[in-house]
Symmetry: C2
Subunit: 289 residues, 2 copies
């Protein structure tokens, strides 16, 4: 019989438990904002397979939402999420109600990330992400933490965070999990109505078009102009009338997400953000090996 | 016979050793920039008395020096420092040559600290301090870290850092150690010539004058106007011709270092920065209990 998942509603309670875990045990950590979908669950399964102890966290972090973003209506379903995590054999769930004291002053500032395409669209977002992840890593003290490739710039950020602040945590990036039609799993997909949901596959289609252009150039025509890829993605997105705002189409470096002029055999991260109806969605694929 | 101090010149080497320390052992940590004086040594002695393992670090952190500050000529004397630490029974010395990789992006940003008096005098200084201390704490993973009260704003900062980023480290602030005549120990005292050294006691005298004013007001005349204290300190400093620049005289809150209008029985931190000849010195005392 499976152990019951242990819930910790505050840092103090989690810390007390953490100190009882023997030094030799491996701890895998999956930080989330809840509203769990198959993407999260693939991270949890990987963590479960590879570690003695699995910790998940659910915390909708206010500092990573902009003033006009969806903090208030971000989906919250703690009971359902807990049951799912219990089912997958998670040992500990850290689900604090607040992570910022009244006099909070220190933030982790990832210089330059607000200049990335996703950063410009969401100023302050990556500072909030870096800060909360640093806090969670300090509380949970895992050997390995698991993140999904869907948030491409976030993956680059977390690796920099760990390296820059000398955190002793291994970062494991897992492939984006997709619905049968190719739509990337996202908690925000719940905002889509049926028609929008069907048309949202245009994001994946546009990325597939990017891959085709890149791969057809692979036989001797590389490096290619990155704008050829950008234009292909843009044109594909524009074929769908429900796409009412294309925030960005980015062809960036795999290491830094900085925009590329040319794409070589090294490849690139092609990432997009656009609105289907009123719902902001992001997706990305990695070109090259 | 005393064990020989173990030196670690890079993070990787320290980390490998750190993993061999049993979970139950207490680790006391004294981070320094070297050029050790009796102030540092009092921290080391306290750490030695209270912990199973004592770790010291020596690293002259470039990010906490301004462009016009004394990074290049900051005193460096690793051999002598190592011998002193060995003598006091320090187990491990972490003395890396570089702590910032080429692509370093993430800094710990302590919002508001550049608006403090010491922060205005040294823009970016506290960001550098917060970043390096976070890095060192993540590498050393001590139970307790020791700092001197001499850097008053730094003490407030470090406590905020640990609290804000949920670092599991106890911060122990030790009293400022002084020369016989009252001058606060500082690595920068080495820059003073003999005449300047003698006249530098004016800093301590001005703080003692502040204490007298405060304590004489204690019998029924509190709260008192904080400017009475500021003016007393300023006037005392101005009696010494070798004081050629008074950067600030601050009467601040013990919790936040924010400037106070009135001082009550709760007290205050009175802190000063001024130049004796060309040498910038700081000092402070705590009024009240």
């Amino acid at each position: 019989m499976m152990n019951k998942i242990q819930m910790h509603n505050c840092t103090k309670s989690f810390r007390a438990m953490r100190k009882t875990i023997p030094q030799g045990s491996s701890i895998g950590f999956v930080p989330t904002m809840g509203a769990l979908h198959d993407g999260h669950l693939s991270l949890v399964r990987e963590a479960r397979e590879r570690n003695d102890i699995v910790v998940a966290s659910i915390y909708v972090n206010p500092t990573q939402f902009g003033p006009n973003e969806d903090l208030d209506r971000y989906p919250r379903q703690l009971e359902r999420d807990t049951a799912v995590l219990q089912e997958l054999g998670v040992d500990h769930l850290f689900c604090p109600s607040d992570m910022y004291g009244q006099n909070h002053r220190c933030f982790v500032d990832p210089v330059g990330f607000d200049d990335l395409r996703e950063g410009r669209a969401r100023p302050g977002h990556f500072r909030g992400v870096a800060t909360i992840v640093a806090k969670l890593f300090n509380i949970v003290q895992p050997q390995t933490a698991y993140f999904g490739q869907k948030d491409a710039a976030q993956c680059v950020l977390i690796k920099r965070l760990v390296s820059d602040l000398d955190m002793d945590v291994e970062i494991n990036i897992m492939n984006t999990v997709r619905e049968d039609d190719g739509l990337a799993m996202s908690s925000r997909n719940a905002y889509l109505n049926q028609d929008e949901r069907e048309k949202a596959i245009i994001l994946y289609k546009s990325l597939q078009a990017a891959r085709e252009v890149y791969e057809s150039a692979f036989a001797g025509q590389l490096p290619m102009n990155a704008n050829v890829i950008r234009d292909t993605v843009q044109a594909t997105l524009e074929t769908e009338p429900l796409v009412n705002e294309i925030e960005y189409v980015s062809v960036g470096s795999k290491e830094t997400m900085d925009e590329l002029k040319e794409v070589d055999t090294d490849g690139a991260v092609v990432s997009i953000a656009c609105k289907i109806g009123k719902v902001r969605l992001i997706d990305n694929i990695i070109l090259g090996i």
